[in-house]
């Protein structure tokens, strides 16, 4: 019998099977279910429709306030009150509400609610982030989450596997985001990665930080994939020390596992990379867009709001000033990230440089509040989506890049190459 890829192995193990093959349907044990303020109340309502008054395990249903906090309108404040009431009613152990809040996907990984070799789901499309620690992370909607909250299971179609073998040496100021955008430009949005699992491996992946792996797995949903995954290694072990809320063991693809396709990427050749407004797969190397004027800089989101990202922008902006024509907003991905950045002195450096810092949330990336874009705005964002209207007005343009490019550009008021500072 041929071997299995890491995702196939996890799906087999968690479905009580010896093996699985692509396109098979499996009924899989869910390690953790995440839901958040925006859809959480509806998810609990669906749980009640199933005739359940309690969740399958109150330690493994993770509730987070991220899209709507702090509430910008009375309507959202009321929604949040209803959400808090239903979470408390169910005696949920891990409730990350305002004061302990963060973007759900950051919380899930950083607080150790996701473990290698397990399957976790969340009611938000970027749940793919969990693959960074070697878990199968999957985005679902209300019905799936409610069923998983009721009985700890979810149905899946086993995905075909695609491998990205990443080699070479990371160049200075080049981050996980640049690889992510490079792959977006390489693969395009033409459907051939739909339903697939994307496995990232090779020497340049072992050399990539956990923050970079999270960025890479996060954006696999925007490629249309079912999940993205990095097999656990020494970086994973180190990261999970003192975090993991459960036992786990190493897991990897078999040497003779089958892949639908294998792509080779040498990061030595990748420089800072930018996604052009409106289309996620319209990708340009920075040289092509240098000099483009913009007026709003944004660093944050489940893609690039982590300590490593904040350290990078602090390094670039230290002792300097944000250009007078640019508004720069930083929203750390979680309270823990915020606290770590405060203790490291990064926040002081950034505020002195003229960066506005707001309390952790999804912020303008969800187009709801905290720095939304208006008519005529040109935003340079370290987030994940640039479709028309994503951050607010349909008459705003959004360029996507790494935090390093955002910071370097904020100094000049035009898109700039951080390697040429």
């Amino acid at each position: 019998m041929p071997g299995m890829t890491i995702t196939e192995k996890i799906m087999a193990q968690q479905s009580g099977r010896d093996s699985v093959r692509p396109a098979e349907l499996v009924w899989t044990d869910i390690y953790t279910v995440m839901t958040m303020d925006y859809l959480g109340k509806q998810t609990f309502t669906a749980l009640h429709e199933l005739g359940k008054t309690e969740v399958f395990d109150k330690d493994r249903v993770i509730c987070v306030s991220d899209h709507l906090v702090p509430p910008p309108t009375a309507q959202f404040a009321t929604m949040l009150n209803e959400w808090r009431e239903v979470v408390r009613e169910h005696n949920i152990t891990h409730f990350y509400d305002l004061g302990k809040q963060g973007i759900a996907h950051q919380i899930m990984v950083e607080q150790g609610h996701v473990l290698p070799g397990t399957v976790s789901i969340g009611t938000d499309s970027h749940a793919n982030t969990y693959g960074a620690v070697g878990a199968v992370g999957n985005a679902v909607s209300v019905s799936d989450a409610a069923v998983a909250m009721a009985i700890g299971k979810c149905w899946f179609r086993v995905p075909e596997s695609v491998k990205f073998h990443i080699t070479g040496t990371w160049q200075p100021y080049v981050m996980g985001k640049d690889l992510s955008l490079h792959i977006m430009g390489m693969m395009h949005w033409n459907g051939h990665l739909i339903y697939k699992t994307l496995e990232f491996e090779g020497p340049a992946i072992h050399a990539l930080s956990m923050a970079g792996r999270m960025t890479l797995c996060n954006m696999t949903v925007d490629l249309g994939a079912k999940n993205g995954i990095v097999a656990p290694d020494e970086v994973t072990k180190e990261y999970l020390k003192g975090r993991a809320k459960g036992d786990w063991s190493m897991i990897a693809s078999d040497a003779d596992a089958h892949y639908d396709a294998v792509y080779e990427v040498d990061v030595t050749n990748i420089g800072p990379t930018v996604a052009m407004p409106d289309k996620l797969d319209d990708i340009a190397p920075i040289e092509k867009v240098v000099g483009t004027k913009f007026n709003k800089a944004f660093v944050g989101t489940c893609t690039n709001g982590r300590l490593e990202d904040i350290a990078m922008i602090a390094k670039i902006l230290e002792g300097k000033q944000v250009h007078r024509d640019v508004n720069f907003l930083l929203v750390p991905a979680s309270t823990q990230v915020y606290l770590d950045a405060l203790k490291a002195g990064y926040i002081t450096t950034l505020v002195e440089a003229g960066v506005a810092v707001d309390t952790p949330s999804c912020a303008a990336c969800a187009g709801i509040h905290t720095g939304v874009a208006g008519d005529g705005d040109i935003v340079l964002s370290a987030g994940n989506r640039n479709m028309k209207g994503r951050m607010g007005s349909k008459n705003a343009q959004i360029y996507l890049s790494s935090p390093a490019v955002v910071a370097a550009s904020a100094l000049t008021g035009v898109i700039s190459d951080p390697r040429e500072l």
């Binding site: 938000d124 019905s143 739909i194 079912k226």
Partner: protein
Amino acid sequence: MATFQGTVHAYSGAMGDNIDTDRIIPGKYTKTLDVQSLAAHVMEDIDPDFKNRVKQGDIIVAGDNFGCGSSREQAPIALKVVGVSVVIARYFARIFFRNAINIGLPLLEIPDHNISNGAVLEVNLLEGSVTDTNTGITYKATKMPQVMIDILAEGGLVAYLQKHGDYVL
């Protein structure tokens, strides 16, 4: 429910590709628990008259990547509420696909076809076959697994589990 007939609303060419959940039901109308209210806005940005023309049992035919974008379950719910019996596309966005099954809206993938607006189709979900009664051509669609048909037959995942408590694949 495994075999039925319906009239086609076809979206072809560039207009038929990448129809996202915001175009199926704009996000601003989804902050409600009243699913019937979605009917007044279904497909309104792409086909404003659709909500007036659509009849119980009608079929939507689209191109690539139908249902991409936000993971909202209201998108398949809105189509179901106005009576759409099945959506046919070259392929579906992943989250839309599972949401449709979960709320009880059948989907079929046909990679290549020549089905036009107003055609009357005979659909057999069990066989995964679609016959265009105007041209007599039968298309082979991707077959839906039995368990999905069972979930659909009960009207969706929540209804299925209410009845069976658990399920076996």
